[in-house]
Symmetry: C2
Subunit: 419 residues, 2 copies
Amino acid sequence: MNKLKIGIIGLGTVGTGVVKTLKNVDSVEIVKIAVKNINKPRGVELSQGILTDNPYDIINNPDIDVVVELIGGVEPAWEYISASIKNGKHIVTANKELLAKKGEELFNLAEEHNRVCLYEAAIAGGIPIIMPIKTILAGNKINKIQAILNGTTNYILTKMDANGASYEDVLKEAQELGYAETDPTGDVEGYDAAYKITTLATIAFKQRIKIENVYREGISKVRKEDMKEASELGYKIKLIANASIDDNGNADVRVHPMLVSQKTMLAHIDYVTNAVAMSGHPIGNIVLSGPGAGEFPTASSVVGDILAIQAEFGKTDYMLPMMRCHHSAKANPVNIDDTFNKYYISITAPNAIGVIAKIGTICANKNISLASIMQKEVLENNTANITVITEKCQERLIKEVVNELDNCTVNSLIRVAEG
Amino acid sequence: MNKLKIGIIGLGTVGTGVVKTLKNVDSVEIVKIAVKNINKPRGVELSQGILTDNPYDIINNPDIDVVVELIGGVEPAWEYISASIKNGKHIVTANKELLAKKGEELFNLAEEHNRVCLYEAAIAGGIPIIMPIKTILAGNKINKIQAILNGTTNYILTKMDANGASYEDVLKEAQELGYAETDPTGDVEGYDAAYKITTLATIAFKQRIKIENVYREGISKVRKEDMKEASELGYKIKLIANASIDDNGNADVRVHPMLVSQKTMLAHIDYVTNAVAMSGHPIGNIVLSGPGAGEFPTASSVVGDILAIQAEFGKTDYMLPMMRCHHSAKANPVNIDDTFNKYYISITAPNAIGVIAKIGTICANKNISLASIMQKEVLENNTANITVITEKCQERLIKEVVNELDNCTVNSLIRVAEG
């Protein structure tokens, strides 16, 4: 058998997992690994001379068939990947940010040079999702995705729920345990999940989604009181990456916290686990869950992509028709203000008397139905905490409601998932 | 584009779903459909002259590239499939019984004739599982599967749990609703799930599992009292298809009811939904869930397989290396008596006094630790109901325990899933 020759750029956690995993794969040979510092000790045994601090030793190496990019971020990853494609290499990457920001350019360049770029590891870590969409689910028209795509935020929300703890306390603990970074912004403000859903929706809907059209809200404003209320009402609060598309190509893609019913699978996806729920025709609803990150799960996906290229390599000039990224058109973005959602609203009212009536009137005037309204005991200072769950209504109107509740404090406004 | 030309044998529920779904797929042409009765009205619009009552109009048709077998059962399906392969056709099938009983012959024949047989629809309906194992998970060594593979039994168990109803009552209702057949044996006694786990374990472990080595126990003895006890102890009772393999190729493959912790995903797979939990390295644990049967979900998998063949068709002589069924060796079967499990035992003891001590002594003499033992109120006739959960012990020993509880009635003995 002709071995597939690969070069790896980046030997961090995922790169190390890939190298370890490929030790048991005879059909693939690692020719070179580019790192920043070739003298740094590594957690894996490496052949003499395999390391280089010059990525162009890989990019310009005519022996290398596939470049595996595992450094992340837009630059210099994009420089390396685009140069590699121009040099005739296939690409395997785990770089969700690059895919979200440069995906269109990247796949056009790959197509132009008759090369493929596979990226199973970039979305939901080890969960098989991209390849299944391109292959066994190819006969489907997928029109809805609800997913938990960020392990850090899911860990924080799970811990807040389990321990009745505040966001700040759990974040600190997560940082100490290494589940959250020192600057957690990328995770907790939803950027990471937004990158992932952008690419996932593009491939599932076969329509290009632009990252700048993806609405994004993080978890830093979720209060422990919201977790408790949600739980009592039969929900959990999760950071959900949503994407839906209608028959006219109007795509509503967004990341924000949501109340999800405890009757759904997503409510039971805890800690760093990820999950993707998808609906379409003819498949119906499926949920795929598993480890969303980590050395080995991510390596599983990177190695799966490498083996997919290896299996077809050299057979024909135009390989891997099902592995290319096809999107026939650009989706029309839907503004968040135009979307319809159910809402959870937590309100502190200054005076218990009449406040329920006031909330009811404001909503009724806008034709917003209430699914439930709950007032607990009146507090010492004669304020009352009130929790409202609305029926489906337009985001624009619910923002007006919040504005009109002028002498109340709206503690939280969180969207509620259907079903 | 060259259209892929297919013939379909069987136009029942799944066949009809496939024909409907392929109406939106330009790259595939249905040349012929073989049915028993060409005059029977069909739930889908068909081209004039497309039906035949002679499957050999498909098998011997030189224009047809792929034969889609959707009649089920061993014969005449095996006759049609083997003749088709010999005539140079690729095969797509949803036939779990044939795969379990004739898989080895079938894949050898396909290999010999350089053809592939794809069967995503045969295992877990619409859930993408076979293709992902062969492609994106190819770098993994999968060593454990726990799955809910039969919708009928899962429906019955879910209903028994939700309504506190007996097996007999729910079965009757399921039969009325069409979820269970008039003769429900194939489902309720675990044959269907056994067929599926045989093939799933073979492909996941890359070792041939023989159906005659798969231990099988159905759900007809599960009592409503067991459901209640299990629920109180934090479990659900599910019909679980288990498969595990050790590094020496010893494979323990079986289907039986199990108590599964409510903390696991499988406990939340309700009604006709199916799920497959798999563990391996480097992936870790993943759970894939979705519709296990039905016209459209199953059609999704059949069409996915057809499109996978279509994507590669005619490119090279030896197509689809990742889509072939590879198993390097035959697994060594493990006898159920040699396996280690946790057990739930429901006992009715004639005399409350001393019975706990007796159970404890019998178990202690065999070095079996008890995780919990619970005696509820003593009944009017001075009998007592006692529920025991053991720690892990050998099946052989637990059978001895049951025998030695000679003046008690052992109502139920059900294995308990770990974790």
